[in-house]
Symmetry: C2
Subunit: 197 residues, 2 copies
């Protein structure tokens, strides 16, 4: 008998489709992108598409899960004894760098507006949770060391750092003169001002 085809090849194809979808979603949004458009972008037939992903929605969820995992990995890689405030600032800089890729920025913007679909909403909530849970301990430690203000709980301070990141992303989309490269330094400065004791 024959058998389980090369899993590497399988995974590579999956990633190629994900990559094509990312490009399409970033430009025309989730609902505005047809599976046919993704197939065209990826250079495959629709049969192939649905061989790798049972539905269009499952593809979106796969991308979201990928991003969530990446966030998890980023925080898992931080050494426990690092300087807390540096980690917070490093994450902000890291996120800003990712947003330099307009595909990422466009995708995030497109996806956070897929509303009323429970599976997507829980995936987004999970992503937000992982981010909050990854960042908050460092904020708390920084607070314990007196590096950041103490008039708000770590939970709120963390949320406000994410406010800056969310807003940064939004401005990139709507303001031509506002570029990730040009404003990255100001972003880190803004975080410092926000957290300063």
């Amino acid at each position: 008998m024959a058998r389980t085809v090369d899993p590497q090849r399988h995974e590579a194809r999956r990633l190629a489709i994900i990559d094509a979808a990312l490009t399409c979603f970033a430009v025309t949004g989730y609902a505005g992108t047809s599976t046919a458009a993704i197939c065209r972008q990826a250079g495959i037939g629709s049969g192939t598409f649905f061989h790798y992903f049972p539905t269009k929605q499952s593809l979106l969820l796969a991308i979201l899960a990928y991003g969530t995992d990446e966030t998890r990995r980023w925080f898992a890689a931080r050494p426990d004894d690092a300087d807390p405030l540096s980690i917070v600032e490093a994450y902000v800089a890291h996120a800003a760098e990712e947003m330099s890729d307009p595909r990422i920025a466009g995708f995030v913007r497109a996806v956070t507006a897929v509303m009323g679909v429970p599976e997507v909403e829980t995936a987004l909530a999970l992503d937000a949770r992982v981010l909050q849970d990854g960042l908050e301990p460092w904020v708390a430690r920084a607070q314990a060391r007196g590096q950041v203000r103490a008039d708000l709980p770590p939970r709120d301070l963390t949320a406000w750092v994410l406010v800056l990141l969310d807003g940064f992303l939004g401005r990139l989309a709507v303001d031509e003169a506002f570029t990730a490269e040009g404003q990255r330094a100001t972003l880190v400065d803004a975080v410092r001002r926000l957290l300063a004791p």
Copy 2:
């Protein structure tokens, strides 16, 4: 012959449809909302809908134009000799208050993700422009008086105030514990920290 119908009644109907659409768009997004759903919400038939708006897109543009006008009016109503920094902070507080209405928040989120449609993008760009042009003079005056930092041009400082507002809106959507009422004061404080000399 008969005649030009009562324009008041006409306008009222239009506003009722706009109101229904706002509700629907806020919950399920633009693409996720069918004209049938808007008709159901407004309690009208589809014939009536297309009697008032030629297309679904034109309805969206009408809502956007309405919001842009409101922003224009808000700034037009500020007296020229007012304290500049107070005006900036007042606008921030005003915007935060509007976002207390979850329909507004949801609508804005839904609409900024309608991508790849030129008419919508230009309408959004106009809205952003009106906001920037309304706010920037006050920031500039505040800077001239030494009320705000001078290491960045007024244009950038204004953009960063809008970053905070955009981010505030985004957090409201994704973070259950982050409420407009609870965080409004922190928002104004964040603006002060951002602009402080």
